[in-house]
């Protein structure tokens, strides 16, 4: 067991995967000598060489497209997209090529490509550096989309994503890169557990679902609610696609209330999918309609305004109040 930051856990995980399988190669802009803008690949090119840690031209479609070609050849590329907002030039290669090649080839071509994307806001960056693009990818059949929330999952889930024969969009909550935690690098997870949600706090009154950067905020909200006598169960979704509805439904049937929190915009977001699906599955057990606490339906704002856009502890608690039918809800979204 080691104490590592989230980013150190990712670095250790990449190193471990490269040591384990010579076909694992890393690709991305500035990931070699610089070690990536967030230093996630720090020191890896020095130890594994330029053909294992590939500094690429500045061309996102090119990076993903050539990663597909390398995977076609039998490699397991791990791609780093420098920032969330820069993934869009690669959109066609991800959703029309990477996602569909296995289906297109009737299963003959496997593309075990992992695309790492530092995502989400809260670090005071300019435009295009704080976005939450998960819904685009979760909507695309053929992709799997996951997001760890703590150093142990950062290490383990990245190992699992790289080992997966399907393409995985791996969303790293960049504002949690410096969070420290215990990491067991010898942990051997169940092969399928990458796509399991995890109950990270048990409770009886309400189910609060979050992933990536907002799991910590959700835990803080649950602790604050406890002081007000509300016993919240917090679920770290971990896998955004596929969704572990077994775990989610069991919790919602137990509590009868659900709040979903994410940074991405509300309309057409993951929260909408979870709310609809949980309503379909648990309607008779619900005491209140699912409540979403999300970013607004706006372009990501200038950093001086992002604290309004990003769900924080108070906005999540306000959502909890609405789900509990407590008076004094601030947003008044129930009309």
């Amino acid at each position: 067991m080691k104490t590592l930051t989230f980013s150190q856990a990712l670095n250790t995980s990449l190193r471990s995967a490269m040591e384990h399988d010579s076909k694992v190669v890393l690709m991305g802009e500035d990931i070699g000598k610089l070690g990536g803008v967030f230093r996630i690949t720090d020191g890896l090119q020095k130890d594994f060489g330029q053909h294992r840690v590939i500094d690429t031209p500045l061309a996102e479609s090119g990076i993903v497209g050539t990663a597909i070609g390398l995977a076609f050849r039998g490699y397991r590329p791990v791609v780093e997209i420098q920032f969330d907002g820069f993934v869009y030039p690669a959109f066609d290669q991800i959703v029309s090529q990477l996602a569909k090649m296995h289906f297109r080839s009737r299963g003959n071509v496997k593309l075990p490509v992992t695309i790492r994307i530092p995502f989400g806001g809260g670090i005071g960056s300019p435009e295009h550096h704080s976005e939450s693009p998960e819904a685009y990818f979760a909507h695309t059949a053929g992709l799997r989309v996951v997001s760890p929330s703590n150093p142990q999952d950062a290490y383990t889930m990245l190992q699992q994503a790289i080992a997966d024969d399907d393409p995985v969009i791996f969303l790293e909550p960049k504002r949690r890169y410096h969070v420290r935690g215990e990491v067991d690098t010898d942990l051997v997870p169940d092969p399928g557990s990458l796509y399991n949600a995890q109950v990270v706090r048990e409770g009886a009154d309400l189910t609060l679902i979050a992933y990536g950067p907002l799991v910590k905020t959700a835990m803080d909200a649950a602790a604050a609610a406890q002081d007000e006598g509300i016993d919240i169960e917090v679920i770290d979704l971990r896998s955004i696609e596929p969704v572990d509805f077994v775990t989610l439904s069991a919790s919602v049937r137990k509590t009868g209330r659900v709040v979903i929190a994410h940074e991405a915009s509300k309309f057409g977001g993951i929260g909408a999918e979870l709310a609809a699906s949980l309503t379909e599955r648990c309607f008779d057990h619900l005491d209140h309609a699912p409540v979403r606490v999300t970013g607004f339906d706006i372009p990501y704002p200038p950093s001086k305004l992002e604290h309004h856009h990003l769900p924080d502890l108070d906005r999540i608690l306000d959502g909890v109040d609405r789900a509990m039918r407590r008076t004094g809800d601030l947003l008044g979204e129930e009309g």
Partner: protein
């Protein structure tokens, strides 16, 4: 005076002075120092084989078009006029070389031995693609314009990392050269000196847009700007295409970086069976290119060498008949996909949500069967 759009002339003169040629449209062979050494082994029997290949894929194309007209195929992308470009390049490849095609390379697929059943499956709508890429070293047809060039660049990078002697080749049209992916593929291939041949079939039309809408100069010149070795050849001259492809492959195999071939040819038919080229191009232009027919010039050249043309045409017709019969049989024996095919291969291992949808839909369909029994 400022203008807001580039001036272009779709009928700008093109000819042997702007591209390399071995056999003239009238069948005359003339010296071509850049290419002759690469086809020195092509004697009369070998040239006859190339002629038969071209005749076969011309028939393949005619059958594909006819099958679409008969409602057997949902769509077909004709290759008529591009036989020399596809056979000349396809026959220059080694078995280990890997091909990343667009959707019009039926002739290249024919060279790889893709069977008719597999060739037609996608066009019939019976499957998203037809063949196992690893069995013929040729990726499935690519619909998104230019996307496959990046896959080829990545594959070629892998060949280089592996120390393989094989090369990769990617096919695309003149329209694709406007796509960012093609430029990015050239950047990546050049940056890593990957063993990749870019093969552009400049067939002059991207659906209704003339090549002059894609570029105001020669496409091959643009590739040179990326640092690629380039060949601009008469794409209706099978020997010129074969020579350039062999030369380009030899170049990339030495580790000297990627190469680019612009094969100047002409799409005589429609872009696909869904469009009507009479709406956007001049009949005179078609006549000009008909006079440059890839098969006629080989026949004329063989005639000048004393070959028995009558016997050659009998052999080619017989081979084409056999291929056409195979295509028609493939259509009659091709099973329709099943409901299970809807859900198959989306992922390489079970996916919770999809498994649930498959099961629910299966139960839904089974419900009809029970109802049907009940009404009897």
């Amino acid at each position: 005076m400022l203008t807001v759009s580039p001036t272009f002339d779709p009928k700008a003169p093109e000819g042997p002075d702007t591209y390399l040629q071995v056999i003239s449209p009238d069948g005359t062979r003339h010296p071509c120092p850049e290419l002759d050494e690469w086809v020195g082994d092509i004697d009369v029997p070998a040239l006859e084989k190339l002629y038969i290949d071209m005749a076969c894929i011309r028939r393949l194309d005619a059958e594909g078009t006819a099958l679409q007209r008969q409602g057997e195929l949902g769509l077909w992308a004709p290759l008529l006029g591009q036989e020399a470009a596809q056979i000349g390049s396809g026959r220059a490849l080694e078995n280990d070389d890997f091909i990343f095609p667009s959707y019009r390379e039926h002739g290249v697929a024919y060279c790889r031995g893709v069977n008719p059943h597999d060739l037609l499956r996608m066009w019939r709508g019976a499957a998203p693609s037809g063949w196992n890429p690893y069995e013929v070293n040729m990726a499935n047809q690519q619909i998104v314009i230019g996307a496959q060039t990046l896959h080829a660049a990545g594959y070629a990078m892998g060949l280089k990392f592996d120390g393989s002697a094989a090369a990769a080749i990617t096919y695309f049209g003149d329209g694709a050269t406007s796509q960012g992916d093609v430029s990015e593929a050239m950047v990546f291939a050049a940056s890593y000196q990957a063993p990749l041949v870019f093969f552009c079939q400049n067939n002059h039309w991207a659906i209704s847009e003339p090549v002059a809408r894609q570029t105001t100069g020669h496409i091959a010149d643009r590739a040179a700007g990326f640092g690629l070795a380039t060949w601009r050849v008469d794409g209706n001259d099978v020997l010129a295409v074969m020579a350039a492809t062999r030369a380009a492959l030899a170049h990339v195999r030495t580790g000297s970086g990627p190469a680019f071939i612009e094969a100047v040819t002409y799409r005589m038919g429609a872009h696909t069976t869904a469009d009507d080229p009479t709406r956007y191009r001049d009949a005179l232009e078609l006549e000009e290119w008909a006079a440059k027919d890839p098969l006629d010039r080989v026949a004329a050249h063989l005639d000048s060498l004393g070959a028995d043309l009558g016997e050659l045409k009998k052999r080619s017709e017989s081979a084409a008949d056999e291929l056409a019969a195979g295509l028609r049989e493939a259509i009659t024996t091709m099973p329709d996909p099943t409901v299970d095919d809807l859900f198959a291969h989306v992922y390489s291992h079970p996916h919770q949500g999809l498994e649930e949808q498959r099961e629910n839909y299966s139960n839904y369909l089974a419900g009809f069967a029970v109802q049907g029994q009940g009404t009897k």
